[in-house]
């Protein structure tokens, strides 16, 4: 299998734009996907209870802004909490 040519000239404008946009959310210290996974149940419950997750778990919130896959998993978990709720 030959390696893809990854010359930056091939990076389309839109990708570059998205990359630059993601810099606005970029912090020196960020959680990794594993760190998010470890607490996403706690995070989803806090959100479900209407707590201020941005203040309580800012690093997790920040990761969700940047990581589409973790965000999907979190939203799926929130779906279950909300739709399972008999109220």
């Amino acid at each position: 299998m030959t390696q893809p040519q990854n010359d930056t000239n091939q990076l389309p404008d839109e990708l570059i734009e998205n990359l630059i946009r993601s810099l606005e959310h970029t912090e020196d210290k960020e959680c990794t996907c594993d760190e998010v996974y470890a607490v996403v149940d706690q995070y989803a419950e806090a959100e479900f209870r209407g707590e201020d997750v941005q203040r309580l778990m800012p690093l997790i919130k920040q990761h969700m802004e940047l990581c589409h896959n973790c965000c999907e998993e979190y939203e799926a978990l929130l779906d279950i909490l909300e739709k399972n709720d008999p109220a």
Binding site: I20, T26, E30, D41, Q42, E73, I80
Partner: protein, 212 residues
């Protein structure tokens, strides 16, 4: 089904015999009731794959829960922790299914293949492209050339251009999702620092991009 506390879930699942079997049955019911709520964004409940997937994932979840029981720290309800495990299994499977039809070789080798045409537009081409935008793009492309490693570029192409899920991109790059996130974080940090060193910030760059 009577509601268990976190402690009684752990206790029942750690014992043997009918008590454990009953707890596993209850857990299976909870997972297979919850999972469809999470999957409906991905797959229609009418899809023939839906019910078998729920069953397959529920079974796999129980095995993983038993295997990882000692790692439960009690920071959430036990059932929320179990749903989290079920979602990771289900979405990993669905994301893989979504990609298994596309030939891996083609995906990696044919750089033109998956990119929609509008993404491949030449920055210099359109008459509507302003000089400011073109100059900024050229400058940023040079910075990317200088700052990004080969691996970081590959990750950006796989995730950003070919829109692969993290796990799939990680598999192609012979790494894992967590390491891939770190690789991209390093790339973003490098770029952010380089822009700062050049007295630029993301906002300025973006507004130059927007001037058409």
């Amino acid at each position: 089904m009577n509601a268990r506390t976190n402690e009684s879930w752990l206790e029942d699942l750690r014992t043997t015999g009918p008590v454990r079997d009953a707890a596993l049955d209850d857990l299976h019911a909870i997972v297979s009731k919850g999972l469809p709520y999470a999957l409906s964004r991905w797959l229609s409940p009418d899809d023939p794959l839906f019910t078998p997937l729920v069953e397959e994932v529920s079974q796999e979840t129980l095995l993983r829960v038993l295997d990882q029981l000692d790692t439960f720290e009690g920071r959430s309800m036990f059932t929320t922790w179990v749903h989290k495990i079920a979602i990771r299994i289900a979405l990993t499977e669905l994301r893989r299914k979504r990609w298994q039809d596309s030939s891996l070789d083609e995906l990696v080798d044919n750089e033109e293949n998956p990119a929609p045409e509008r993404l491949m537009a030449d920055p210099q081409a359109g008459p509507e492209t302003s000089t400011e935008r073109a100059d900024m793009l050229t400058r940023i492309r040079r910075i990317l050339d200088e700052e990004l490693t080969e691996k970081q570029r590959q990750a950006l192409v796989l995730l950003g251009l070919q829109d692969l899920p993290m796990e799939e991109a990680a598999r192609i790059m012979k790494t894992n999702r967590n390491a891939l996130y770190k690789l991209l974080h390093d790339a973003r940090l490098r770029l952010k620092r380089r822009l700062a060193a050049e007295d630029l910030n993301a906002q300025e760059v973006l507004s130059a991009f927007e001037s058409r």
